[in-house]
């Protein structure tokens, strides 16, 4: 039993080594201050959340639930779930951008606070787990109409918060990290 376990561990180690050394890097970061432009790393999808949220008004949900034929209401809900899925995907992409920003900032800082780094790593892990769970919920259609309404409200609220935060991050960023608008 121990031997099998050790063999399994060895194989895992070998695979991990290959992946860590030669695995594809989807987002090749350029670790230099000169090439670092804060605007390219900030969340972008959330800027369009407000427009998409117009399509997901709670009033429409209630109307469809009460008035529309059962089949049409079901299809309508499926369509909303698809939009919610896209919303979620956008949220994930925005989070990935922020994550990339945190890593580049950490890599280019001569002194970093360890507690800060562990918190960023922990937040990333939390987000990944939550993201998978929500995506799974939306994919399997395990959301009641009331739940869909609630989710829509949440995301709509998030959209406006993100917009204000984006400008704040850009404001706090060092001048040499900003894109020259001219």
């Amino acid at each position: 039993m121990t031997a099998i376990l050790i063999i399994f561990i060895s194989l895992t180690i070998l695979l991990a080594l290959f992946w860590l050394l030669f695995g594809s890097k989807t987002q090749e970061a350029v670790l230099s201050v000169d090439s670092l432009q804060i605007e390219t790393l900030l969340p972008v999808n959330s800027r369009h959340f407000a427009q998409i949220s117009q399509m997901l008004k709670p009033a429409d949900f209630l109307f469809m639930q009460r008035r529309a034929p059962h089949r049409m209401a079901r299809e309508w809900r499926a369509e909303r779930r698809r939009i919610l899925g896209q919303y979620l995907k956008g949220l994930g992409q925005d989070f990935a951008q922020l994550r990339r920003l945190t890593r580049i900032v950490a890599a280019l800082s001569p002194e970093i606070r360890k507690q800060q780094q562990w918190e960023w790593m922990w937040l990333e892990l939390q987000f990944q787990i939550s993201y998978c769970m929500v995506a799974l919920k939306i994919a399997v259609g395990g959301l009641s109409p009331e739940r869909l309404v609630r989710l829509t409200e949440l995301i709509t609220g998030l959209a406006s918060e993100l917009d204000s935060r984006i400008s704040l991050i850009a404001e706090y960023s060092p001048p040499r990290m900003r894109v020259n608008a001219g």
Binding site: G23, L31, A107, V134, I169
Partner: protein, 259 residues
């Protein structure tokens, strides 16, 4: 000496490849960048000569040969542990902040695994050969553990790994991973059946590792990059809290969606 013709031929080929790798390392001035690895390559070649002389004078099955062989193995595995630390330093030390975060972890991991192995070996009563294999397995675990942790940091922060360093690291990690499995079999199951396959596996895995190092050093090494321009402490302090707040908010929102 007691070696078969095929064993002698295999030994000869191994020694030639190791000598070629060492000469390439010296020609490429590898000592300037990876001094410990260059010393390790010298030790590997010296090891072949010492073992050959010992076998010639005392015979392959003598006590002297046994102790000389395992003493040389202990020296080599210890140097390998330092080499992987050196590779991690070469990869990460340009990024001061990350290196300050990573270095204590690497040291802690190395000391931790080695200490737990020492305690485990002391607690169990085994024949000398099994104890040696267990100790070596633990030390190989230490080597590969340090390497994997360092590479995880590189992957996490998207630090570029130059091809020559990747091949050198692969050789070290590959050999250590194989030895972990190999020593388990030697000390456990195959010791009751036939360990010649696993002895050959040990030699062949080292040959493969040597070929990886040959690939690493075959072409001239890329020019050393200047240290990157870093942000000032004030810039980090200004940006970090805002980004943290943003990440926390996104998480909180997502958690609400999940509940």
């Amino acid at each position: 000496m007691g070696l078969s013709f095929s064993d002698s031929a295999h030994w000869m080929v191994t020694t030639v490849i190791e000598a070629v790798v060492l000469s390439l390392a010296l020609r490429r001035n590898l000592f300037d960048r990876l001094p410990v690895f260059t010393i390790y390559l010298c030790t590997v070649v010296a090891n072949e000569a010492i073992i050959w002389l010992t076998y010639s004078f005392t015979g392959i099955r003598s006590h002297t040969s046994f102790y000389v062989y395992w003493t040389m193995q202990a020296i080599q595995v210890s140097i390998r542990a330092v080499v992987v630390y050196e590779i991690c330093r070469e990869l990460l030390s340009r990024y001061t902040g990350i290196w300050k975060l990573c270095r204590p972890l690497l040291i802690l991991l190395g000391v931790g695994i080695a200490s737990s192995a020492a305690v485990m070996v002391r607690q169990q009563v085994h024949p000398l050969s099994s104890t040696i294999l267990m100790t070596e397995r633990s030390l190989e675990f230490t080597v590969v553990g340090i390497l994997i942790l360092g590479l995880i940091f590189c992957r996490y922060y998207s630090v570029e790994i130059k091809p020559h360093l990747a091949w050198i690291a692969l050789g070290l990690g590959f050999y250590s991973a194989i030895q972990v499995a190999n020593n388990t079999f030697l000390g456990d199951w195959f010791s009751r059946v036939d360990n010649s396959i696993w002895r050959d596996l040990r030699m062949v895995s080292f040959n493969i590792a040597t070929v990886f190092w040959l690939v690493a050093l075959w072409k001239p090494l890329p020019a050393g990059q200047p240290a990157p321009v870093l942000l000032s402490r004030g810039e980090y302090e200004a940006l970090a809290p805002e980004v943290t707040l943003r990440l926390r908010e996104l998480n909180a929102r997502l958690l609400e969606m999940w509940k």
